[in-house]
């Protein structure tokens, strides 16, 4: 110890040092020592700065009366170093403190300049420095402990997000949770989550500031797929970290954070931060995938409910049984290819014992076709009423269906009216398959088309046909699902085979004819699934 320096510290100062409480915090101790140092060197104020990462942060100060405050931090200060005379130290700025470099930091002072050349090595200064060093060490240990504990926070966050993903399908809440956790754990100021829609990524949510509403990432680099996001994804940020949200390599979105904070400002993200963000991006991918599957399942259930409803409506539309007409056997049958079909048949009793028999085939399948069938059913009842069917009525029906349906939708229709007392069949065939009349002697007449399908054009004309029915004559109206049923090689069942079967089976009961046709069709198509709706209406004069 420098005897000159020792002699510079009065005994009463040493006594005051001895009276200090060493039980309290370093901050309080440093303030007390600074007060002694300030008084000894007759300054207005004294302060201690701790150096960390090239910055100097104010840790303690002691000021008299109206002495100015010391700045909270100093960047690149110019201080009197070891060997320099403190008296020559320049103030940091006009009226600012002078600085003395000591191990671990700086001593700053303001006011009357009583700091001598002995100051850097006098025991009071050395005591201050040793307390500063122990404070620095303690702070480092605290920081390490803090960082270790914070790893625990990260793990808990990942665990919590994983639990949330497993327990909820609320994508809104999950997305919010993932974004906030990523921002807070990476000490970011800003963050954003984007979701992919086609080739573009649309902003789903943001935190801490604005973000681009959408962007299209560059995806090609040296032949490999690599995503690059715009530099101004989070406008105003200096440092951006953005990672893709991918599920099994399929990009679903982008998770981005901006400006990593420290006590001194913002800085870039580290490799460790990248790994942490990747973990959250993976979590986000799982959440998005779960939500997508759930939405798909809900949509599937909704469609199934709608299909079942449409099928029920259609079941209600189609006749539940066959009407009784004296002297005639009647039977109608329809099997849709899907849950809901586009084929239609109807029996409608008219005045005077007449019966209208209708078979129709709507373009398309599924619910749209079923809805048009429903329109057809109500239109037939309302427009045709009980009037005898003729071309004019079909023209009116055509106009109505054309106005009521989509441009590419139309209906092939065969409307026949049986007058059982006169044994005559009057019909209009609007583009439908020719009906077949198998005579008792095995010859076959056709109920040929006399106009276009209804709904195809706004105006259409139709011709009316008529035929007499003899005893045993069998009339067959059908849809093309029967004649166009095909083998795996593509050969169609055709009208010829249908005619041959009807001729062969013409004297059998109507349900047997249907069963026989069903069996023959099944044999014919082999394992091919039913491609189109199949409808069959049979009518036979059975009196003698």
């Amino acid at each position: 110890m420098n005897p000159v320096a020792t002699a510079a510290i009065p005994d009463e100062v040493w006594r005051e040092i001895g009276d200090l409480s060493w039980e309290g915090s370093e901050s309080t101790l440093m303030e007390s020592l600074l007060e002694l140092w300030r008084d000894h060197y007759r300054c207005e104020g004294a302060a201690l700065y701790l150096r960390r990462d090239g910055h100097y942060r104010l840790e303690a100060s002691s000021r008299r009366g109206s002495c100015s405050r010391f700045p909270a931090g100093l960047e690149s200060p110019t201080a009197a170093g070891p060997g320099d005379s403190p008296a020559d130290a320049a103030p940091t700025e006009d009226g600012g403190p002078k600085l003395l470099e000591v191990p671990g930091g700086l001593i700053a002072w303001l006011g009357a300049d009583g700091v001598t050349e002995a100051a850097p090595s006098d025991p009071l200064t050395l005591l201050l420095v040793s307390v500063l060093r122990s404070f620095e060490l303690r702070k480092r240990l605290k920081l390490q402990s803090f960082q270790v504990n914070y790893r625990g926070v990260e793990l808990e966050a990942l665990y919590d997000v994983g639990l949330a993903i497993a327990s909820t399908l609320d994508l809104e809440a999950l997305s919010e949770e993932v974004l906030l956790r990523a921002v807070s754990l990476l000490d970011a100021r800003r963050g954003a989550l984007y979701l992919r829609e086609g080739s573009r990524y649309r902003l789903d949510r943001t935190f801490g500031g604005d973000a681009l509403a959408s962007f299209e990432p560059e995806t090609e680099e040296d032949g490999r797929r690599k995503m690059r996001v715009p530099d101004d994804l989070l406008p105003g940020t200096e440092h951006l970290l953005a990672l893709p949200v991918e599920f099994h390599g399929d990009p679903r979105g982008v998770l981005a954070v901006g400006d990593r904070e420290s006590r001194h400002g913002v800085g870039p993200f580290s490799d460790r931060d990248r790994r942490t963000l990747m973990l959250f991006a993976n979590q986000a991918a799982i959440a998005l995938e779960n939500a997508r599957l759930h939405r798909q399942e809900l949509e599937k259930q909704r469609l199934e409910r709608e299909m079942e409803l449409a099928a029920e409506i259609q079941r209600q539309i189609l006749p539940q049984g066959s009407p009784h007409v004296e002297g005639y056997d009647l039977m109608g049958w329809s099997r849709p290819a899907r849950q809901v079909g586009g084929d239609y048949f109807d029996f409608f009793e008219l005045d005077g014992g007449r019966l209208r028999v209708t078979v129709g085939d709507v373009t398309g399948k599924g619910i749209p076709a079923a809805l048009l069938v429903s329109t057809l059913h109500s239109s037939l009842r309302l427009l045709l009423g009980s009037d005898p069917v003729d071309g004019e009525l079909l023209s009116r029906l055509n106009r109505h269906i054309h106005e009521s349906s989509a441009a590419n939708k139309f209906i092939t229709l065969l409307v026949a009216e049986l007058d059982p007392s006169a044994h005559r069949l009057r019909y209009v065939n609007a583009g439908h398959n020719p009906g077949l009349c198998v005579r008792a002697d095995g010859t076959v007449a056709q109920l040929d088309p006399g106009g276009l399908p209804v709904g195809m054009l706004p105006q259409a004309g139709y011709t009316t046909g008529e035929m007499a029915l003899g005893s045993g004559d069998l009339v067959c109206l059908y849809s093309d699902g029967i004649t166009e049923a095909a083998t795996p090689e593509g050969e169609e069942f055709g009208m010829r085979r249908l005619r041959e079967l009807l001729v062969r089976e013409r004297e059998h009961p109507l349900p047997e004819i249907r069963s026989r046709l069903e069996a023959v069709l099944e044999d014919f198509v082999q394992d091919e699934p039913q491609a189109d709706d199949e409808t069959l209406v049979l009518l036979r004069r059975c009196d003698t």
Binding site: G24, F146, G152, D160, A188, G209
Partner: protein, 116 residues
Amino acid sequence: MTESLKLRVDRRGNLAVVYTEGYINNQGGEEIARVAYKLLDDDCSRLLLNLSGTKIVNSIGISILIEIIEKMIEVDGKLAFCCLTPTIEKTFHIMGLAQYAGIYEDEQSALGALET
């Protein structure tokens, strides 16, 4: 531009309730510290931080809150938190804030503890 933390102070004798709204990060933490130290200088040694308007705290914010707690301990003051989100409450427990500052579900119970 990052949204700044908003603070509202309700002084009640030597107790104050500071309501936070927004992100407790570096900026937000420094703002809370400035208000807290000013209150301490003004003989207000019991402080309740009501975090009902805060959904997110980062490590910088937590370190500043720890410093505030240490300062309160030095001056024999008391600090409590209330109305934390489950995430923030769990974080405070892991980081040890709960050892030195009370954590309460609502303002009423927090005030009751601080006033005793």
